[in-house]
């Protein structure tokens, strides 16, 4: 026990000696977290100008009827927040599409309006897209084209029916006038769809508002990456020292325990640094906007303290990674790759509900997934004890594996 205490003291002394380099890495990571939080907070304000789909309109746009329709869509309809309809020549639109500046363009043929008014379908609008736009934008464009086709085909049936009625009643002179009225009425019905449905979001995950989820996700993500900060401490391995320690009665378990505690303390420093960097933007402003109250320094500190078990399990996982790999560069790479992939699968970037069921289950079983659920529970003030026990079990397993890896390293020399 005395030997363990001395060894722990020496590890802490090493940590203090390496503090400048450790602090630089930690400060860099906290700065990244702070920038992320500020970006996230400002993201909502910028979204209206930045995240719009551009669908150019080319061809016969001089027609007053069509021009009126485009201006209505651009100025009055709710879709103006999502889609822009710039008018271009076909060459400009083609160049813009190839450069990725627009999502697609619609080629309006000569005499489209007359064709629609006549109730004919002989001049279709051609939608030109690119293969690179096969994401959600492509799906949206296809959906828009589909909706437009359906509306036009249904309108056509109505127009034919109305024209037949007018002819039957010998009112052929009003055919043009009534067709135009009906067309305008249909366009009006399509455009006046505001309030057709309302959307109510209860929360993204576990009943937390989106900023709360992203606060927890960001804390876990940056904590996963904080393993990199420990690289000056654990990146280099002195196997001779480890072997010699055994000859002096400091076995692999004792060595791992002493070094892990130093790693854990460093992780706790990172945790509180992260919360200090993330809380002002994500924790206070965004959560208050989402209707949360009592988000002062006390709440931030309580949140940090409640996450100490998370720091314990992530420190154990990072320590195991350092035990399994030799060399500073490969250790850092492993920390980085594992951190990012685990954060992604566990739902730190997007709520896990967005993933397929199998992936979601894997994410939940990973330590990062458990840590995220625990953090979300802590933020709500409802700490999930079962998840906490799961985390502690994970930490114990990681430490046992670390001791086994250390023992193997000592044996093999």
């Amino acid at each position: 026990m005395k030997m363990f205490g001395t060894y722990l003291f020496i590890q802490l002394r090493r940590t203090v000696k390496l503090l400048p380099s450790l602090m630089i890495l930690t400060a860099l990571l906290c700065a990244c977290a702070g920038i992320f939080a500020l970006q996230h907070r400002n993201g909502g304000e910028d979204a209206q100008t930045k995240q719009k789909y551009q669908i150019a309109v080319v061809g016969d746009t001089g027609d007053s009827y069509l021009g009126f329709g485009i201006s209505v869509l651009s100025v009055m309809d709710d879709s103006r927040f999502m889609v822009d309809f710039p008018v271009m020549t076909e060459d400009e639109a083609r160049r813009a599409l190839m450069a990725g500046q627009i999502t697609a363009y619609a080629r309006v043929p000569e005499g489209l309006t007359e064709s629609i008014v006549r109730g004919s379908n002989d001049r279709p609008v051609t939608l030109v897209g690119s293969t690179a736009q096969k994401g959600i934008a492509g799906i949206l464009v296809e959906e828009l084209a589909d909706v437009a086709s359906t509306v036009i085909l249904r309108s056509q049936s109505a127009i034919y029916a109305m024209q037949n009625i007018l002819r039957d009643r010998a009112m052929g002179d009003r055919l043009q006038e009534e067709t135009e009225k009906l067309n305008l009425r249909m366009i009006d019905m399509v455009l006046n769809r505001t309030g057709l449905c309302s959307l109510e979001i209860l929360g993204t995950a576990g009943g937390l508002p989106a900023p709360g989820h992203y606060l927890c996700g960001a804390v876990i993500f940056f904590l996963l990456l904080s393993g990199i900060c420990s690289s000056p401490l654990f990146g280099k391995k002195n196997t001779d020292l480890m072997r010699w320690m055994v000859s002096r009665g400091v076995g692999p378990v004792c060595q791992v325990a002493g070094e892990y505690l130093a790693c854990f303390m460093l992780e706790c420093c990172c945790l509180f640094g992260m919360i200090a960097a993330l809380w002002p933007a994500l924790g206070t402003d965004s959560l208050r906007a989402a209707g949360w109250e009592g988000l002062g320094l006390g709440k931030a500190a309580a949140f940090g303290i409640s996450l100490i078990p998370v720091a314990a399990v992530l420190a154990a996982m990072q320590f195991l990674m350092y035990e399994l790999v030799t060399g500073t560069v490969s250790s850092i790479l492993l920390q980085f790759v594992c951190g990012i992939s685990m954060a992604y699968i566990s739902g730190c970037f997007y709520p896990a509900a967005m993933f397929p069921d199998v992936l979601r289950r894997i994410g939940e079983a990973l330590p990062a997934g458990m840590a995220l659920r625990y953090a979300e529970g802590s933020l709500k003030g409802d700490i999930p004890l079962q998840t906490g026990l799961g985390l502690m079990s994970c930490a114990a397993v990681f430490l046992v594996l670390s001791a086994l890896a250390r023992s193997r390293r000592i044996r093999r020399g």
Binding site: I10, R14, D240, R243, S247
Partner: protein
């Protein structure tokens, strides 16, 4: 005091590295173990130090099998491996503090083993800035903190200059004079000259050898 190694065996998978290794050493003696690279010298010393487990055999000192009595072994045996087992980021004082309590450390630095090894001259130097000789002396200083009666040294003076070697040999003489037993794994002829008994470890078997200063005969025997 007398040590007796008998029937020590060790194999890595199917490859037998030590095959019934046995030797005896008396109080105040120095035993040199010679052998080519990878012949098992370091493995033998690490087994005696308790770093590795032997597949069989015993290491008896005053009626106690030190391979089985770890507590006794930790206090009776000091081990200096080939590479220096020091914490690079810390200075000599911090490294020594891990093994000595402060009172003993000050005493030893004033007129004890550490004074003899002249460690007090570089107490505040970080290990990463030390010369090879400083590191080796510090390693020995750390290894003898429990005042062991048996000291195991794996190529202690490899790559050291003559002045450093001289300081280390002076300490060895004093250690032997105090009744300690030295067990050296070595390639160094100067070290070999200090030994009372020599053995050559070849294909896992330990052969007694008398070194008479003829290097060619020694080289032939090592092959």
């Amino acid at each position: 005091m007398k040590i007796e190694l008998s029937g020590i065996r060790k194999a890595y998978g199917r490859k037998a590295v030590l095959n019934n290794v046995s030797l005896t050493a008396e109080e105040g003696s120095c035993v040199g173990i010679l052998g080519g690279n990878g012949c098992g010298k370091s493995t033998l010393l690490s087994i005696l130090a308790g770093v590795q487990k032997a597949d069989g055999g015993s290491f008896v000192c005053d009626g106690h099998d030190l391979l089985k009595e770890a507590g006794l072994r930790n206090s009776a045996v000091g081990y200096v491996p080939q590479c220096d087992p020091l914490i690079e980021e810390l200075n000599a004082w911090d490294n020594l503090c891990m093994w000595y309590d402060k009172g003993t450390l000050k005493r030893e630095l004033e007129h004890g083993v550490l004074a003899m090894l002249e460690i007090d001259g570089f107490l505040k130097v970080p290990v990463q800035k030390m010369s090879g000789g400083m590191k080796k002396r510090l390693s020995i200083g750390c290894a003898v903190s429990s005042a062991p009666r048996i000291l195991l040294l794996d190529e202690p003076s490899a790559a050291l200059d003559l002045v450093c070697k001289e300081k280390i040999y002076r300490y060895f003489e004093s250690f032997r004079a105090g009744g300690g037993i030295l067990l050296l794994a070595t390639h160094d002829l100067q070290e070999l000259a200090c030994c009372d008994q020599c053995y050559i470890l070849k294909q896992g078997i330990l052969y007694p050898y008398v070194y008479d200063g003829d290097i060619h005969r020694l080289a032939e025997n090592l092959l």
